[in-house]
Assembly symmetry: C2
Homo-oligomer: 217 residues x 2
């Protein structure tokens, strides 16, 4: 896959060794995440809202109700900053300044395109389900549900990832101290599924729910 | 604890039943989170950056290098939107529109106050460690490290939480379908700690690292 071209906003100023513009690496981070934090400027003041996000090809998609203010603002052409963060571990160094986290993050600057086509909206409903809970079977969407839902598409063009994965980096003076240092890995894990209380009798909890894990297989 | 007063920006327009202004509830969400997404507007365009966050009393704090652009912008008086999100479960309804997530989020609108006092900066170093990895022992900070680090304080005044915790909410028509529906709980879990490769011989992996969990005890 191609490299993404850095821009004035996405070039990594501090610690450029953490900057990643490889599409495959950027896409892997987006695909592992359940939610993004979407920023928009309203009267030169920031608003940041969490929302589910998926990637299809070279675009990311968010969606929500027609009455959602953030979506309306974005649909109107306001520039967005979409940030996705995965915290991979706590880095416990031997000083406060050696404390850190290993993480992977992506920032996308883009303007929204509103998805109008009903067939595409229906495909996106299926894509969101397949992203969030692969294998889950639902009834088909109704036209009024599709009409009431706004889907926004953003091109992954002005984008970059930052990856910190080097663990503890203490100077020699600190390494000489009689202090523990190390890394505690973190991950999102799924517990046992709970059936809906009004589930019809005889319906079993499906395997895709029992074995759920992120990142998706 | 007192209620936070809603403002034009923090009152919950859609689904007001999800809005929470109780300080204890808001603080519990902040305290469980490791990172926040901080938004700032630059030339009326949004930037959203993930960063570690802690709460001390009625303020939240972030910190970083003096050369960090986001911190410089905020230190210069730019309004911030600080958003914290905890995803608690995947909600698998019987339609695409019944798919959701249970989550808890907090949004704080505030301007930064720069922490200048060296003793307070030193206390904040300790507070960040105690928040991120309780019990971890480090050497004291050096003056040059404190000088090179910017700590920003934000009052928790214009703030609100949103909580969705109701699981599947399908209409009767959908409940009648022969489809599974339920909730898959998610949580951040810690794996076995890995000692730093240059750890001094004889230093044991401490219990606080072996038994690490969020939220903090």
């Amino acid at each position: 896959m191609s490299e993404i071209q850095p821009t004035e906003r996405t070039k990594i100023r501090r610690r450029p060794e953490r900057g990643v513009f490889d599409r495959a690496a950027v896409y892997a981070i987006i695909d592992e995440a359940l939610v993004a934090h979407v920023g928009v400027s309203v009267n030169d003041e920031p608003r940041v809202i969490p929302t589910a996000i998926i990637r299809v090809g070279d675009h990311v998609y968010i969606h929500g109700s027609q009455s959602n203010q953030l979506l309306s603002t974005l649909a109107g052409g306001a520039p967005a900053c979409i940030t996705i963060t995965l915290v991979d571990s706590i880095v416990a160094g031997r000083s406060g300044f050696g404390m850190s986290m290993d993480y992977r993050s992506v920032v996308i600057f883009a303007k929204a395109e509103v998805v109008e086509d009903m067939a595409e909206k229906e495909r996106l409903v299926a894509a969101f389900i397949e992203d969030i809970l692969p294998g889950h079977v639902v009834r088909p969407p109704k036209a009024k549900e599709l009409n009431a839902t706004v889907f926004l598409r953003f091109p992954i063009e002005e984008a970059s990832a930052k990856i910190r994965d080097k663990g503890v980096v203490d100077p020699a003076d600190d390494i000489a101290l009689d202090l523990w240092a190390g890394v505690i890995p973190l991950r999102m894990t799924a517990g046992a599924p709970r059936n809906c209380k009004d589930l019809r009798p005889g319906i079993e909890t499906p395997d895709y729910a029992k074995t759920y894990a992120r990142p998706r297989g």
